[in-house]
Amino acid sequence: MDYNTGHPHATPNFRNLVIKPMWITLKTALRTVPYIGKAKFLKNNYHGQRANLTDEFTLERIGDNHPSSGQIYAADRESSPALPFLERPVTIMYPYERLEDMEPWLFVPGNYNGRIGIVWETCTACKACVKACPNDCLHMTSETRVNVLDTTDEGDEWHGLGSELESGGLAARRKETFDEIEDFDLMHEHTAPPQQYDFAEVIDISGDKATVRWQDGSGIESVEMSSLKPAEVDIVSGRIDIGRCMFCGLCAEACPFESFFMSNEYDGMSGYTREDLWFDADRTRLLPVVHQERVDMELAKRAQKEKAKREKKAAKAAAAAKSEA
């Protein structure tokens, strides 16, 4: 049998029986060796090359505190000056290492289709997300929350447009420290993340003080009215059968308010039974601080509307009073 099949291009020959292919693999092996790998004849245009792949926007976004700020990234992730000894592309050993630390630009908020997250404060229960879901995995549920209009503090631009504290109603107090939230490890704790607020039932209101019964069981306490925000039990989106979710992101796109997001989080979505994957809304809740800018936008939008409504009402009332008078 003649191995030369008359093929027009590469013809089998003696030299290439071993020499060429073995040379190319040897080259690859040598490139992974420190110092030798940088030799010119190896044409190492890959490992240990410095190339600036981070744009200014990303640099600004990740800020100075991010582990990757100030690093120069190469296409193969880890051949950056951060890791002077590595001459090779390195597998990210998830969960010990995470991709977002190595390639932060892949995880711009809003760019990644991680698990869904809902900012309850701004949800209006319009069901747009539920309708958009191709798999029917998303559902509405009712939860205790603070309306976005009530989240403002004294002195904020849009303060005072929300509802009032009432005795018999619910109140919330923002937590003093965020340690609990920061320490929460989504990857390993398969539970709902901690709340940003402590909730309480208002028993009585007298002057500046309100007597409340904390829902976490810490008893009855009398606190300053100014530290409390009105809360309510509302219908919000976010109950999800995560086993059915295919992370297409259509729900987040359907949301007409700044409430529904796909988070950058790809952890904490496992379980031993199918029931473990039925997430109640508290597992998908996003704290407003994560998307503060967008929440502020929504607050402004809604507060303006509310203000206009109130002004109209006030004008109407004034007109009515006038006409009455």
Partner: protein, 378 residues
């Protein structure tokens, strides 16, 4: 030696998925073959009938796990044809970038799988290393690593992100350099040549009659490419020619089909680099999602009696969607979605191709046609 039937599959390294190739062998020689498909038939066409036009995109992504983006785009073009949507030019460029990067990733996956098919594992690891770069780029666009759900009826989900052009240029140039090393390991290896040359001949006229298209037919020396013969998107604005392989005299063999894919990877990288230069508004500008520059207005209902279809150059050949709208007064959902999968037609032909060769040639021939069972079984 007596003839015997061997059932290769559904779990077999040669199949690249789940299907069975029944092979009748006489000693080491293949005498007859019979493919048996349908192991992962998910009924996507039926599911699509109860989803609205936007939701279907996500299912089309899942048709092929190696080349998700091309499939959702193939659907989007058919849906736009049905609904009569005008797409902004910038969106078309972004789509082109996404599809061509996906084509590189898909071909890399193919090359990576073809190495082990004929006994070399190195190239698989190398290819997956480079594919990682392409997947990173696509993740920036679509937000996921595999099923991007990127195109929307009327445009795209999102503009090119900040810094995307910078990274895409860098990575693609790097990639173009690295292709040479695959060639050194394949083209310049005599063992590969004697394994792949002279095996699995296929002639173009026969192939087109059998419905084989795409890289497999371009390997035989004809420049049939949906992108030029039935032009869509903005391919006509870029300077390129479809890659064509000078085949051997008896037709395209495995080696030609390998060559054409390597050449197409170059071609696609070149296309992306060109598109990034030519994109209206510049690759560096960023529009918020929903901006009319990247997504046009689209109706959500298809009137009764309308239909839309579109041929699309997938990484494996000509893919096509045919969508019949309306019916039973439910215009929001398609009445019938029909999918042409290139590999569904090619696998029977490839199975015929290997008759007369040795058992050892089965993976070499089958692999060279690039089977993907996700789209085949739908």
């Amino acid at each position: 030696m007596a003839e015997m039937w061997i059932s290769m599959g559904p779990q077999h390294p040669m199949t690249h998925g789940l299907w069975t190739l029944k092979v009748k062998v006489d000693g080491e020689t293949v005498v007859d073959t019979e493919p048996d498909l349908g192991y992962i038939h998910r009924g996507v066409e039926k599911i699509c009938e109860s989803r609205d036009f936007t939701q279907i995109t996500t299912y089309c992504d899942r048709l092929c796990y190696a080349s998700a983006n091309t499939w959702s785009h193939a659907y989007i073009y058919a849906a736009e044809d049905l609904l009569g949507v005008e797409v902004p030019e910038r969106a078309e460029y972004i789509r082109l970038v996404a599809v061509e990067i996906q084509r590189i990733a898909s071909h890399l996956m193919w090359l990576g799988a073809y190495g082990p098919d004929i006994g070399n594992l190195s190239v698989m690891v190398w290819c997956l290393r480079e594919r990682e770069m392409m997947m990173d780029l696509l993740q920036e666009l679509g937000g996921s690593r595999m099923h991007y759900n990127f195109p929307r009826i009327g445009g795209v989900k999102r503009d090119l992100p900040h810094g995307f052009a910078l990274r895409a240029r860098h990575k693609l140039k790097l990639f173009l350099d690295r292709i040479q090393e695959y060639e050194a390991l394949f083209d310049e290896s005599t063992v590969f040549l004697i394994r792949s040359q002279g095996v699995g001949y296929a002639k173009p006229e026969e192939m087109i009659n059998h419905g084989v298209s795409g890289p497999n037919i371009r390997a035989a020396g004809v420049n049939h490419d949906i992108r030029t013969s039935h032009p869509y998107s903005v391919y006509s604005e870029l300077d390129w020619e479809p890659a064509v392989e000078r085949s051997s005299i008896k037709g395209a063999d495995c080696y030609d089909r390998y060559r054409i894919r390597v050449e197409e990877m170059r071609q696609s990288a070149n296309l992306v680099l060109q598109a990034l230069d030519k994109i209206p508004g510049g690759a560096e500008t960023y529009h918020e999602p929903g901006d009319p520059k990247i997504i046009g207005k689209a109706p959500t209902r298809a009137p009764e009696g309308t239909s839309g279809s579109h041929h699309f150059e997938d990484s494996r050949g000509e893919s096509m969607f045919y969508i019949a709208g309306g019916g039973e007064g439910r215009g929001k959902m398609p009445y019938r979605v029909s999918i042409r999968s290139p590999m569904f037609i090619t696998i029977p032909y490839a199975s015929k191709c290997m008759i007369g060769y040795k058992v050892a040639d089965i993976p070499a021939i089958m692999g060279s046609f690039d089977p993907c069972i996700g789209e085949t079984d739908r």
